[in-house]
Assembly symmetry: C2
Homo-oligomer: 268 residues x 2
């Protein structure tokens, strides 16, 4: 048993979808969440910059006496997992591997689509990880930079969302994929629109859900479960103004964000 | 006469539209451009964070022996001009004041729209500056967060751009504005789409153009013109990977970006 909190790291607010899945599957665990809101978005930044930001963020989380780190951000998982795992000793779980595994086992025709930020798609991280499990897979990656601002506008079911999804997903439809990885924390919010464009013909994989399952497996394996069965508490830290995070974040986790503090991440 | 370069500061690549106007109106001036690409976008950040980033960026530009600074970023101009002018002695020209002046003199019915990022609109900087010149003005500000990624996708004349503009500009049409300030460096790229949505009935104000005119006026007033009449040279600095900047930036200024270097802005 280990009652120390789990650290959850994200480039901003999107990682709350991962936090929510963890609290549903592991209601007794305490969580410390850090959202690097001053430097969001990671999706368009170079690999070098993302690694630097991730290592700084880990340094902060490690001051919080945590037992494991979940990297909720797809871009950070895609670009910085190796460096992070080299640097630190505790279990580090990213979203890419659980998402890739679920996609590889869901597909029937071995044609898989992956959508995400420019950073995630260009990194080829999902593509590589899926191919390790299913070498015959044909994988098509498409960057969808408009999806995050559409979700943040609350326009997920609008005509703009539908037309945008049609433009981005056209290539995936032409390739007749049967499985699609929603490779960015914001994208599950668009799942109805995406499903409509794909005419209900593809299995949508949500890495947030798969990651929470993976966290449960690792805590069990390493005997790190909390002794509490529920009532886990959450503390939040951000690197920019907490007010916006509180407002939008409360909607995502469907519960008021009470304990939140701003930290100066560049001075950690 | 003063042959030192002009410093141009932007949160990223959009400020190249301002640089381009300056090189057209003042072809003999050397320019040092700094784009804070590692920390873009400023538009959704808190005032405190934007001020910190702007002062750090100025500190870098001042190592380059410049004679004046142009703040090409609307958000930075809106949130950090006062602090910057308090801190430093050289002429500092933002885009908000020239844009506001042009709008106040263009309107006939005193109904003016301003579009920009969340940071620019919430700051009320254009609204306040226009009202100082034209106290009776009715000013409606609308934040348009999807416009920047649409421009960066090259979708400025697509159906997505048109539908998005229709959603954002509806309120402005209902208020029957006759003048619209394009209060973000990227927006002039969308001018045809915006003009179509507004049915050709409004005067579009481009602060980049107005700012270059203002720079010319100040250099003249302070006797700071370069002794060269043309052939001004440009050097570029960015805080993230220069490759993307070079590629997209070359298209904006219609000329290859040769001299470009990455700096670590957090260590200045």
């Amino acid at each position: 048993m280990d009652n120390r909190p789990i650290g959850v790291f994200d480039s901003g607010i999107g990682g709350l979808t991962v936090l929510k899945e963890i609290t549903e599957q592991l209601p007794g665990e305490d969580i410390v969440y850090f959202g690097d809101t001053a430097r969001i978005p990671y999706g368009t930044r170079s690999k070098e910059t993302v690694i630097k930001y991730v290592l700084q963020s880990f340094k902060f989380l490690l001051t919080q006496d945590i037992k494991a780190i979940v990297v909720a951000c797809n871009t950070a998982s895609a670009l910085a997992m190796e460096e992070a795992q080299k640097e630190y000793d505790l279990p580090i779980i990213g979203v890419v591997e659980p998402g890739a595994k679920a996609a590889a086992s869901a597909t029937k025709n071995s044609k898989i689509g992956v959508i995400g930020t420019e950073g995630t798609i260009n990194s080829q991280a999902y593509q590589r990880t899926i191919r390790k499990i299913l070498p015959s897979a044909e994988i098509i990656g498409v960057a969808c930079p408009l999806f995050v601002p559409i979700v943040e506008e609350g326009w997920e079911n609008s005509d703009v969302a539908y037309m945008t999804a049609k433009k981005y997903l056209l290539e995936l439809k032409e390739h007749e994929i049967d499985t699609l990885v929603l490779g960015c924390t914001h994208y599950p919010v668009l799942r109805y629109t995406i499903d409509k464009v794909m005419e209900g013909k593809v299995t949508l994989v949500n890495p947030a859900y798969e990651t929470a399952k993976a966290v449960k497996g690792i805590l069990k394996e390493k005997n790190l479960f909390s002794s509490k069965l529920d009532g886990g508490e959450q503390r939040f830290y951000v690197s920019d103004d907490p007010e916006k995070f509180k407002r939008i974040g409360g909607n995502i986790i469907r519960k008021e964000i009470v304990s939140i503090e701003k930290i100066d991440i560049e001075k950690i």
